[in-house]
Amino acid sequence: MNYQFEITVSSSVSTDTPWTVTQVARMAKRYIEAGLGMIWIRGEIAEIKIYQSGHWYFTLKDAECQIRGMMWKSDAQRFGAPPAVGAQVFVFAKPTIYEERGDFRLHATEMLVTDRQGLEHLELQKVKAALEKDGLFDASRKRALPQWPTCIAVITSLDGAALRDIITVARKRWRSLEIRVIGAKVQGAEAESEMVRALKMVNRVEGVSLCIVARGGGGKEDLAVFNSEKVCRALAQVKVPTISAVGHETDVSFTDFVADCRAPTPSAAIEMAVPDSAELIDRVNHLAVRLANAVGQGTRVAVERLERSGDRLHTAITTLLERRHRQVDRLGAQLDALSPLKVLERGFALPRAEDGRVLRRAAEFTPALSFRLRVVDGEVPARVEEN
């Protein structure tokens, strides 16, 4: 039956063309559903019942009005325990008419119990979910900070305490540092756009190796820009490692999760960013002592080594000389054994002519030849007989 726009308002003012109850209920339902759609509604739970079927039936109210509503079991079971009576809630629902009873009611699919900042909390959950979904909180994104940066960017309010704290701590710790300050409002209506602009600017500043985003402490609302999706996405695009230092230690913002490091305060951020010169000077002094000791030790070892070398040389020469001595003795003995005197000792004699020539052949002993016989202890004159 298609009666939606065939029945005009004028037609209902006559008893000739009355509407049926069903027509009115269905028309009202269509108008309401088409006109309102799915909406978030904030209110207080005035009454709530869980039926055997598992469906929730509740009444939502504020200071002046109340509306009944229901949620199917399939949706309700996602939320665990139902909210208590009196709880402030956000309900995502389709306002409609339950035709059989002609009741105006909410057909809810989501219900969030809210605190005082319910709307903001809801918004934060959405931003968080979006950033998480895109991996901006992933640990794998985290980069290591440079060990000894020479130039860092600081994004903060130009007249805030955060900047003063950072400069003061930097002067105490690490004087070989250039700080590039990029001013940005950190609260108020313009904060988000200024922060995004500043974060984009960092990528164009030459020589910067680290970026600190800083803000002194404040109320939760004052820190809202550091939970902004746009600011978080711009922070994730910064090409150098980043530190988020927002508020006091108890405050946590989404920028803390997106940045490579989170510092509890701006002072802590600069302490994290730069080394302590005093510690490095200690390290250098310690190295100086070790160097002096080491070279002393090295020299001593070299001298000992030289001495050891001298000892070995002496030993080597002595050994060589002894060996030579033994060789000479041995050769002497050999020479001695070969001496003709040794032969004479055994009873041989050596005939020599007057001129000293050794007479070896019988033919050399001519008749009447005078010669000398060399025996072991002297010479004996001799003569060949004349026959």
Partner: protein, 82 residues
């Protein structure tokens, strides 16, 4: 992450300290001859002087980054800072 990957840090101070550690280690291990030990010692002294000068001489400089109407960046002194 190695020191080579750390990008923009003071390369000379990092190099001075790294080399100093190496020199001290080598001298402490007693390998090498006397001439080499003395040469290492002299280099170590030079590195020490250089590192000390770098650690004690500088002063923090604070500059404000400002974008002009065309979007070009320039550095200004920060109010109240040198």
């Amino acid at each position: 992450m190695g020191e080579e990957d750390r990008g923009e840090e003071t390369p000379t101070l990092a190099e001075d300290l790294r080399r100093l550690e190496e020199i001290v280690r080598r001298l402490e291990s007693n390998d090498g001859d006397l001439d080499q030990a003395l040469a290492l010692f002299e280099e170590g002294i030079a590195r020490l002087r250089s590192a000390r000068a770098r650690l004690s001489g500088a002063e923090v400089r604070v500059r404000k980054v400002v974008a002009d109407a065309r979007g070009s960046l320039r550095m200004d002194d920060l109010d109240g800072e040198q």
